[in-house]
């Protein structure tokens, strides 16, 4: 039998990796509902699901509305402890039959497979996204990678159907090296795609922080060696299991920085609600810190401080706005203020994607904009950096404004208009900051909710699908 060829690190990479020690972690993960059903769950977790809730979920087992097949149920001890006093966290992590009431949605939201030149790599913009793990310590019910986590087959551009695979170090290094060689030879642009140098890689999954230190170290070193300047790690581990960020992990990062001082690390963290990182008093209220601000969970704050004490590491938070979890301006205001105060930038808030079953989670676009806008009233300018983004096939798009002033003569215009701004064009850059304006539809949860009311489409968010301006439709 042939053993698949493993990536051979260079001498420099190997020297760094040899210094790395794997920590030992016991997340006390509970996967699936079986232990809740048969009562073998730890005593204090009994009652997390009521008998009625268990019955309503298990009744759907084996049907096309099977909740556990849609997304396996998974929680850590740490997250369970926070869930006990938080309705928002319970909504986030507890399975519910309403997830499959409406199965409308896309199996590959954002058509990621059409941007995937190598297994496990999505190449958009000057950024590559790689899947390095196929699970997380716990599972968000609204997960946008449900196809990867639940190992569902997706259709690829060539028509074949297979589950998404993970990236392999050798494949990614080869792709980056070859891509950038062609870009350099061609005066700074790729001869076929017109893309720039690939200089930033986002390690995603799944959650890269479920991997051991050595495994993460191999990726960091190989990507740096291939010329990547900035590495992002997309993780929700600060919420699920902050003890993962222990001394062995930071020792690995320090050894990495000593070997590759030019590489910048960007921790893309994922908090949806302040209940995930703030302490509460016995009455369930946040605790005012005598020196200002609110008390954090000690392990979470310690991890953030460790990151922030290293000037080559940035931290950014991004979060979707999800019904029943954080469609709450007060919670979002507290979250943005506390994150910024502790050195975590507020990057994007997202409108829910059109994943299968998204109707259970999504907040209408205009409502999400109003919630975020309301949450940013009373924040200072630097605290209110976050924008509301919705991911179009063409690229990341900002919901820039929702107006209340009537714009007569177009469908929905009696309520005002919505202004979309294309932030990043996924293929290349020329369409950056072009705008599309549509008549309002307070029910719309996706771009398609505005198909009959496009007023102006400079960004070509609609014309790309052959959808005409409403003035042209009216003239026909």
């Amino acid at each position: 039998m042939a053993i698949p060829q493993k990536y051979q690190p260079t001498e420099k990479e190997a020297a760094f990796i040899s210094k790395v020690v794997n920590g030992k972690y016991d997340r006390e993960i509970i996967t699936g509902l079986k232990k809740f059903i048969d009562g073998t769950i730890p005593q204090d977790m009994k009652g997390f699901y009521s008998p009625e809730e268990i019955k309503a979920i298990t009744e759907l087992d084996g049907t096309d509305r099977d909740i556990q097949a849609r997304m396996p149920v998974k929680i850590t001890r740490h997250y369970f402890e926070q869930a006990k006093t938080s309705k928002a966290i319970q909504m986030l992590v507890k399975a519910s039959p309403k997830e499959t009431y409406d199965l409308d949605g896309a199996s590959d939201p954002g058509k990621q497979m059409s941007y995937s030149p190598v297994e496990g790599l999505i190449h958009k913009y000057e950024l590559g996204l790689i899947y390095v793990a196929s699970t997380c310590s716990a599972h968000c019910r609204f997960c946008y990678r449900e196809e990867l986590i639940a190992k569902k087959a997706v259709e690829r551009p060539d028509g074949t159907v297979a589950a998404k695979g993970l990236a392999k170090i050798g494949d990614i290094v080869d792709y980056v090296t070859e891509h950038n060689r062609l870009v350099n030879e061609n005066g700074g642009r790729h001869p076929e795609t017109n893309r720039e140098h690939l200089r930033e890689i986002l390690m995603s999954g799944g959650d890269p922080m479920v991997l051991g230190n050595k495994n993460i170290a191999q990726w960091l070193a190989a990507l740096s060696q291939a010329g990547i300047e900035s590495i992002r790690i997309g993780t929700k581990e600060l919420a699920f299991f902050p003890e993962r960020f222990d001394a062995t992990f930071f020792a690995m990062l320090d050894a990495f920085h000593a070997s590759y001082p030019q590489t910048n690390l960007r921790m893309m963290v994922h908090f949806n609600h302040p209940d995930e990182f703030l302490s509460k008093d016995p009455n369930g209220n946040y605790i005012q810190h005598p020196q200002g601000g609110l008390e954090w969970l000690p392990a979470t704050r310690a991890a953030v401080q460790e990151f922030r004490s290293r000037p080559w590491i940035n931290m950014d938070n991004q979060s979707p706005i999800i019904a029943g979890i954080n469609d709450d301006a007060d919670a979002l205001r507290i979250m943005q203020r506390e994150l910024k105060r502790n050195g975590v930038e507020n990057h994007y808030f997202f409108c829910g994607r059109d994943i299968v079953g998204h109707k259970a989670f999504n907040v209408p676009i205009e409502t999400a904009w109003k919630i975020l806008n309301e949450s940013q009233k009373g924040l200072s300018g630097v605290e209110a950096h976050a924008r509301l983004s919705i991911t179009h096939y063409k690229g990341k798009t900002e919901v820039a404004a929702v107006t209340d002033r009537p714009f007569p003569g177009v469908p929905g215009g009696e309520n005002g208009v919505v202004i979309f701004k294309l932030l990043r064009s996924a293929a290349d850059a020329p369409d950056r900051c072009k705008v599309t304006i549509v008549g309002r539809n307070p029910e719309a949860i996706w771009f398609s909710g505005y198909d009959d009311r496009v007023i102006m489409d400079e960004a070509e968010l609609y014309s790309i699908y052959g959808i005409k301006l409403c003035t042209a439709i009216a003239a026909e």
């Binding site: 039998m1 698949p4 390095v132 699970t135 479920v210 495994n215």
Partner: protein, 112 residues
């Protein structure tokens, strides 16, 4: 929860599971592999990777294999970690699928 290596790994030790495990929670004995239950993160990747169908999630573990929960826990604490795939045992294909292999399980190497 955890995943559990059961008797069909004995005398085979294909180690395909080791190549896919994201957290390197496999430990290697002379003719068997064991998963450390507190390090396993329930990703399910090893189940499909195993050519001998020897790995089960704890919840899907057949009743007549339940004792392997304890066996994995015990052996993963005394055996060395294995992080790279290697050649299977020489007679792996002959032993794959043979039932009742537990009597052949070797805890400690007799050499050295």
């Amino acid at each position: 929860m955890t995943y559990v290596v059961t008797d069909n790994c004995i005398q085979c030790k294909y180690t395909d599971c080791v190549a896919v495990c994201p957290v390197e929670c496999f430990y290697e004995g002379p003719n068997f592999l064991a998963i450390n239950p507190s390090e396993c993160i329930d990703c399910d990747d090893c189940v499909v990777a195993c050519p001998a169908d020897a790995i089960f999630s704890e919840d899907n573990l057949p009743d007549d294999k339940r004792h392997f929960l304890e066996i994995n826990e015990e052996l993963s604490q005394i055996w060395p970690q294995i992080t790279d795939q290697k050649e299977p045992l020489p007679d792996a294909d002959k032993w794959a699928g043979v039932t009742g292999k537990l009597e052949h399980l070797i805890k400690f190497s007799t050499e050295g």
